[in-house]
């Protein structure tokens, strides 16, 4: 039973043509403090339990330590499940096997999947409570759905060269870079538009402040993250 806690998340930023469902909670940026002193940044208003709590953490370890079944198929599934549980628990602040629905995207993606927002919402529909959406997702529901996702290898990663082509497609003049304005326009008006925060973060990483451009080839190589090899091949 989840203890009722008042959640005070920050507001969603609307204004995109395509409306996502309960969207990303604006994460408190780790960059320089914004806003006038004295204001409450969105993240801080959210109630959170302690990240660690003696026994539940060890209980988690214990869950992960559950004996592995034989080899072959069973072994692979058990291993996948353990991975999913681990990822889930990282976001389970209250140690009660539920996570905020807004974190599901992070969990799914950090398990190696590259879903579109639309695909993510389809998935959410399967794991959320049917009657009343409580804003939480329970591990019980999440685990089988996610296991299937990983076994079916849905939402496969995007190879580096495909990503490069995508940038090149936006680069009309084929000059090897996008101006800030171009990038902002494409990212916030097309596809599955970025929120303001997402846009800012992307720019902070990739924008060359002197020329106000993003050299996408360099940007891609800087940002490519190694894939976990132990996903089933």
């Amino acid at each position: 039973m989840k203890a009722a806690t008042a959640r005070q998340g920050g507001g969603r930023r609307d204004g995109c043509a395509w409306q996502p469902r309960p969207g990303r909670r604006p994460r408190p940026s780790a960059a320089a403090p914004r806003g006038p002193p004295g204001t409450v940044p969105p993240g801080a208003a959210v109630e959170r339990g302690p990240l660690r709590h003696g026994s539940p953490w060890r209980r988690r370890g214990a869950a992960a330590m559950a004996e592995q079944e034989g080899n072959g198929e069973d072994g692979a599934v058990a291993e996948i499940e353990k991975k999913i549980i681990e990822a889930f628990e990282v976001f389970d602040h209250e140690c009660n096997k539920t996570v905020d629905v807004r974190e599901i995207g992070s969990i799914v993606r950090s398990l190696g999947c590259f879903p579109t927002e639309a695909e993510l919402h389809e998935l959410l529909a399967k794991v959320e409570e049917e009657e009343e959406p409580t804003g939480y997702v329970h591990l019980e529901k999440f685990l089988p759905v996610m296991t299937k996702v990983l076994l079916d290898r849905s939402y496969r990663p995007i190879p580096e060269d495909v990503l490069l082509h995508a940038f090149e497609a936006l680069d009309e003049n084929k000059c090897g870079y996008l101006t800030k304005d171009e990038l902002v326009k494409h990212m916030t008006e097309e596809g599955e538009p970025f929120t303001e925060e997402e846009m800012e973060e992307m720019l902070s990483n990739g924008l060359d402040p002197e020329t106000n451009t993003v050299h996408y080839r360099d940007y891609i190589s800087m940002m490519i993250v190694e894939e976990p090899e132990d996903l089933p091949q």
Partner: protein, 724 residues
């Protein structure tokens, strides 16, 4: 609908651009999610290691306690020494303290260019100090001691619970843990202004340890405390405790900065700490304590306790009775010599005499002797108190509960109860679940739930609690339905970029306003990716050290999964094994890519992996030295330590005795030393190679440790300057 060709190509482009955009966004969101996961894992690593370390403190206590249980002192002098070693430091009567820490005879040489203090202090002194510390100057020991004396005099008049009102100065600023990070204090003063008649401050404990400028922070806080006694309020934190200081760096800092007078300064500080108030009440509505509360928290009791009796809150743990093998004669003979003239037979009939528990049957000799010992002990202590009622700092707490006799009309609280009140206030943490349970992670205090909070608030008609004690990413965090506020003022606590610091301001409306900051300019110029990578690197370094420290336990755990002795295990088993050894509750499968670089078809060669870890840690000697370091701290009593290890009292330590003691040590200190390592250590100490260690060899070994230490310190300093 027919489109013109230009429209068509435009349409094609748009559709292509659309698809491209989706692709990029898809990829980018995945990237950010991964970053978020890494950030959380990193945070978890730091926290789990930090709290696991705090357990070591308790383990060390238990270790010495165990030693004491197995060591039969041959004289009362030795018995005293043992208690004092356990308590780590001699406690003085007040007059003795003044004499020992006398500063008036200290000369301040003309060559001294730092600030000069004269008492009573003036605001100019404070500004001079701030400026001096910014210039990295050091305050002369004489002034430090003088300041500490005056601070103590002032603190003694203060009640256990300070009261602040927002009608005098319009706003009160509450700051959390500073942990020796002077830059953060400077930043707070810069942003918020210095303490003054119109600017009240409450500093909520943990001023010292971990950071490198704990002493400067203390000096500044005490100075302002004396200049503006009505406006500046200090609460005691769990790190205002000399036992904790020994471990977490403050004691070391003082000894390094003040080579001649360091000991005196530490002695005075130890005394000052126990006079710090325990809590602050703002407008009777907001309770400010360092750690938290428990379901037994009683503000009335807290107000009446003699807080200075609790020099270190880490004492007072119940000794393990199990292995004790005590002889009744020893106790009686021993204690009678020290008992007061009234003797333990003539028990005066005062109402508060401790009642002996029901005597167990004589059949169980061990039980009986234990009971006798305890009862006799209690009676003797009680008698001592009768004779020595005037309270002073030389009180040595015993391990059995005692009746507080200083105020015969006062309610009859036991020493244990009082101690628990303070422990809970200084060490507890909030939890989301209801109820109240033991804080096993820290080893002291409780976890308290929202129901406990609600009860306390109702009982004392309070609006909310402010506490510190836990590092928060944003510098502050609410919980328990906004009834508990955690405020943490040490930014970049784990590593540059790990977290912000914050302070909170309250006006008469008691609505909190927060100011956040990060005291390192470098952090601002880093991108989020870079910041996370940097913090992550630091976390993994710490984690690898811990893994290395458990090498032999890990090997055994891996071997259990490698029955055919192939030297390889699956990555899945690796994760399970590691958790079973370290017990950190970390998501090992998530962390694996950072810890295990090379694998072959999903299998890991664990021996070479551990070898790689070892190479990273560079020197085995480092582990050995830190082991010896702990004993080395007590080197002034080497002879007794020698005797502790020499169980059969032969005057020689056999390899076996050495081995046993060291194994015990390493299990308590969570430091790994293989059997080979121990043997090497023993052999290296046995200079004349006669198979035993005599006392001279023992002394010589410590002299060598001192040399190695100096060497390592040099290495560390070099490393630090490189990292900067």
């Amino acid at each position: 609908m027919v489109r013109s060709s230009s429209e068509q190509s435009c349409f094609c482009f748009c559709s292509l651009a659309f698809k491209a955009a989706v692709l990029i966004q898809r990829w980018y969101r995945r990237y950010v999610a991964r970053l978020e996961m890494r950030r959380r894992c990193t945070w978890r690593i730091f926290q789990s290691i930090e709290y696991a370390c705090e357990q070591d403190q308790i383990k060390l206590h238990n270790f010495f306690s165990y030693l004491m249980d197995h060591f039969t002192p041959s004289s009362s002098k030795e018995r005293d020494f043992i208690s004092r070693m356990f308590i780590s430091g001699e406690s003085f009567k007040e007059a003795e303290l003044e004499k020992y820490c006398d500063y008036e005879s200290m000369e301040v040489p003309d060559s001294y260019t730092g600030p000069h203090l004269s008492f009573p202090l003036l605001p100019d002194h404070a500004t001079a100090l701030l400026e001096a510390f910014k210039q990295k100057q050091q305050l002369h020991a004489r002034y430090v001691l003088n300041l500490l004396h005056e601070t103590r005099k002032h603190l003694k008049q203060l009640p256990n619970i300070s009261h602040v009102s927002t009608c005098y100065s319009e706003e009160v600023t509450v700051c959390g843990d500073l942990h020796g990070q002077l830059d953060d204090l400077f930043l707070i003063f810069y942003k918020n202004g210095l303490p003054s008649p119109s600017k009240s401050y409450v500093f909520n404990g943990d001023f010292v340890d971990r950071g490198k400028q704990s002493l400067e922070i203390l000096i500044i806080l005490f100075t302002f405390l004396l200049i503006y006694p009505k406006e500046v309020h200090l609460n005691r934190g769990n790190h205002e405790d000399h036992m904790v200081n020994l471990r977490y760096g403050f004691a070391k800092e003082v000894m390094q900065k003040y080579k001649v007078h360091g000991k005196k300064i530490l002695k005075m500080i130890q005394n000052v700490f126990c006079w710090l108030p325990l809590a602050t009440l703002i407008d009777q509505k907001v309770l400010v304590i360092h750690g938290g509360i428990s379901d037994t928290t009683d503000l009335d009791m807290l107000e009446k306790i003699q807080r200075n009796k609790f020099i270190s809150v880490l004492r007072g743990k119940k000794r393990k009775e199990s292995n004790r093998n005590v002889e009744i004669q020893e106790v009686n003979g021993e204690k009678n010599a020290e008992a007061d003239p009234a003797g333990n037979e003539a028990l005066p009939s005062l109402p508060l005499q401790p009642r002996p528990a029901q005597a167990p049957s004589m059949a169980n000799r061990l039980e009986f002797s234990r009971w006798v010992r305890q009862t006799v002990q209690e009676q003797i202590e009680w008698c001592r108190r009768l004779v020595d009622i005037s309270e002073s700092e030389d009180e040595e707490p015993t391990y059995s509960s005692m009746v507080s006799l200083t105020d015969l009309d006062a309610p009859c609280w036991t020493r244990q109860e009082e101690w628990k009140q303070i422990l809970d206030i200084l060490w507890s943490d909030p939890m989301p679940q209801e109820g109240c349970r033991e804080n096993t992670v820290r080893g002291g205090g409780c976890y308290f739930g929202p129901d406990v909070t609600a009860k306390i608030l109702e009982k004392y008609n309070l609006q909310f609690l402010i506490r510190s004690h836990e590092c928060k990413q944003e510098g502050y965090e609410f919980c328990h339905n906004r009834k508990v506020l955690t405020i943490f003022s040490a930014s970049n606590y784990y590593e540059i970029g790990s977290n912000r610091g914050a302070y909170v301001k309250l006006g008469p409306d008691l609505v909190p306003h927060f100011v956040q900051y990060q005291a390192n300019k470098a952090a601002h110029t880093l991108t989020m990716t870079q910041r996370i990578s940097r913090v992550e690197e630091s976390a993994f370094r710490a984690l690898r050290e811990k893994l290395f420290a458990h090498t032999s336990a890990l090997i055994s755990a891996f071997k259990a999964y490698d029955k055919d002795n192939t030297g390889r295990i699956t990555l899945s088993n690796w994760a399970t094994a590691v958790e079973s050894v370290l017990h950190l509750g970390l998501p090992w499968r998530m962390l694996r890519p950072q810890l295990v670089r090379t694998t072959e078809d999903g299998m890991l060669e664990y021996k070479s992996w551990l070898d790689d870890l070892a190479m990273e840690q560079r020197s085995q000697e480092r582990i050995q030295s830190s082991l010896l370091e702990v004993i080395y701290r007590n080197r002034s009593n080497l002879e007794t330590i020698f005797r502790i290890i020499d169980r059969d009292h032969s005057g020689l330590i056999s390899f076996e005795e050495f081995h046993q003691t060291w194994k015990l040590f390493s299990s308590h200190m969570n430091i790994e030393l293989t059997d080979d390592g121990i043997n090497d250590l023993v052999r290296s100490i046995d200079f004349n190679k006669d198979g035993n260690i005599d006392f001279n060899e023992f002394l010589e070994a410590f002299r060598l440790v001192k040399q190695t230490q100096a060497c390592l310190q040099l290495q560390n300093r070099e490393r630090e300057s490189r990292d900067l």
